[in-house]
């Protein structure tokens, strides 16, 4: 097993068996208190092992290939899954929403990732050791951001139709009429990342930083990386929220400055 930096105390299969004991302890709690969670816990534990091993083997395989094509392919698959997850969390729909969520995440995620790898860390931008975990973090935050923004923007246009049409009826452009709800959507989508920037290091040690420290990286190096990561997440999330909100805006109004009828539907 190779470490990126410094040396890691390697884990043997036996160590993992010992760790399994910890899950079994959780299972005993469930049995003792008759929570009825043993089966779900067992399935969850198996999924954890299988999913992570699968990812581990895929990543090792891709790292060894040393070619940008599979890296970009994996990144696109990750982005698509994130887009799908984001859309799943939104209670309203409009035609093409999944495609737009995907495009939003591609633009905000891939661009920011390559800026960080290429311009800040200064490695080959698609070097998988950097690009894949960075994109993963961006997508995790970006999908939360766009699902909040999309949800709120669509809700405003569906529920506050009277307000918007009143403004249009008095001579507002579509932009003037939609500005307030749009601003609020972007704002709300950005709040989680700003909150986590506010408490980072105090309430929680970020997973990436913890991981680096566990692999014997100097804490200050880990901190510098974490600062870059937080700023990257802020940029990517705000970009994603803004883009997704603008897409909703441009799709829900037409060139005649009308709020389109029956364009937004409920999920399911």
């Amino acid at each position: 097993m190779t470490a990126l930096n410094g040396s890691v105390a390697p884990l043997s299969p036996f160590d993992l068996v010992t760790a399994t004991g910890l899950v079994v302890a959780a299972g005993l709690v469930s049995l003792g208190l008759r929570l009825g969670l043993e089966k779900r816990l067992a399935i969850a534990a198996v999924r954890t092992v299988v999913q992570l091993l699968l990812v581990g083997y895929i990543l090792r395989f891709v790292f060894d290939l040393n070619h940008p094509a599979p890296v970009v392919a994996i990144m696109l698959v990750m982005t698509f899954i994130a887009g799908h997850a984001a859309v799943q969390r939104v209670t309203r729909r409009f035609p093409g929403m999944l495609v737009y969520a995907f495009i939003t995440l591609v633009l905000s995620g891939l661009i920011t990732t390559f800026v960080v790898t290429g311009l800040i860390i200064r490695v080959t931008p698609w070097r998988p050791q950097y690009a894949i975990p960075l994109l993963g973090m961006i997508l995790g935050n970006g999908l939360t951001g766009i699902s909040i923004s999309l949800d709120l923007a669509l809700e405003s246009f569906a529920e506050r139709r009277n307000e918007i049409e009143m403004e249009l009826a008095l001579g507002a452009t579509r932009w003037e009429a939609a500005q307030r709800p749009l601003r609020e959507s972007v704002r709300r989508g950005m709040i989680p990342i700003i909150n986590s920037m506010t408490v980072v290091g105090i309430v929680s040690l970020p997973g990436m930083m913890t991981g680096q420290i566990l692999s014997n990286t100097d804490p200050l190096t880990a901190v510098k990386y974490q600062i870059v990561v937080m700023f990257m997440l802020a940029a990517a999330t705000s970009l994603a929220c803004m883009l997704s909100t603008m897409i909703v805006f441009s799709r829900c109004f037409n060139a005649r400055h009308q709020l389109r009828q029956g364009f937004i539907t409920r999920k399911g």
């Binding site: 009143m166 009826a169 009308q258």
Partner: protein, 223 residues
Amino acid sequence: MPAPLLELRGLAVSAGETLLFEGLSAVARAGGVLAIQGPSGCGKTTLLRAIAGLIDVTAGEVLLEGRTPGAWGWPTYRSQVSLMLQRPVLYPGPVRNALRRPFSYRATTAVYDEGAAVALLDRLGLAPEVLDQETSTLSEGQQQRVSFARSLLLEPRALLLDEPASALDAAAAAQLETVLRERVEQHGLAVVIVSHDPAQSARLGAEIIDLAALAQPIAGAQA
């Protein structure tokens, strides 16, 4: 006789897939009033929304001084042919802000004049203190009058009114009608009004348009 200000040419209007009526042609001149009548559900409100361009017409066209809304630019057209919704919508915050807001639109040419606002509200039976009141605390009748005042302050050339006095008592409705008549007779405002009250239409000297006569059988059957 003044030249046509607002012209409806062979309008057909639908609600979703359902055709409500077709073949509506009418002209509103400066200082002229068109009163839309017909049973409920025949599409009176929808017609006003179509004239304002909030929805598309199914056939025909609406012209302001011979030009289509597209040629004017939709926001400019709507600032000249202003629709007042039956259920008034006012932005949260003080009434003053709700009145001022549309004056910030690019298409608006009128300038907000607080003195004129106070004078107009007074004629509609509202004291100047109402300007500092939260719009959410107004009664529906007060909201309707504030909304009517806002429409007039913007100085449109044509006003589309949907039951503008539906939430008003007789005295307040009479005040509103007096102000409206004055704007029509002295300032040449053109009006298209949906009203349940034939007497009101008569007092405004309105030309009556009976939508029921143009209605599609299915829409007529609902009434």
